[in-house]
Symmetry: C2
Subunit: 147 residues, 2 copies
Amino acid sequence: MRARDLAVEFPAVTLDTPALEAARLLAERDLPGLILVDEDARPLSILPGTQVLRLAVPAYCQDDPALARVVDEAHADRFLHRLGGKTVRECLPEQPRELPVTDPEATVLEIAALMARTRSPLVAVMDEKRLIGAVTLQSLLDHALGV
Amino acid sequence: MRARDLAVEFPAVTLDTPALEAARLLAERDLPGLILVDEDARPLSILPGTQVLRLAVPAYCQDDPALARVVDEAHADRFLHRLGGKTVRECLPEQPRELPVTDPEATVLEIAALMARTRSPLVAVMDEKRLIGAVTLQSLLDHALGV
């Protein structure tokens, strides 16, 4: 089995994608992260799901999560409203996560080695010019274990 | 909504759990990681899925994933066999990942703040003595977005 067989279509976002749309993609598609691409659809980085949360959580709560308890339950439930108007550009970590990229011919072992080295549960698969899709840790393990 | 409402039963492993069993749990339950507990079922750390792969991938392939291509496809497909006989103890990173833990009363915002600060898509929920379950980034986003 090769990367081309394991890769699935994967939602990509750009720097200008609304942060709330990124959160919806993560939730609806049950993904560990999103692939950030440039204007020419070339993959740039991974946006981990937890980074989108950072934009929605007030800074004082991130420094001390226990402080979040002073916000009542009803308001806490609506915390994602703070994403309104913000974009993926503002979600990016200061040091963007390395995006492992491989080609369609990569074997299962090669993909596993990339995931192990970069600690990324996601590997982008590119042909010469464009993003074909991605292999997730889940699909790799499912295949390797015959689940 | 509180942590007790969002927490789901979550498979825990110990240092002596076979690595292959950990891989099966990750695959079958579609999880971002596993919770490592001590003999008294108290949570110790998170075992990210990619760490289990590290044990299955020969060191020379992790240093240079392209070298994995010299292994033929049939053998590459069976790379998880290298986990046989190994345990979770051997999978742990040198610097174990911080396990965010909260109590059943934590609000959605408090859980989000913990995930954002620790960059963990998983928060363990404990009552005074034992692990009740965990809240995942997915379940948090599903709730916050009303998916």
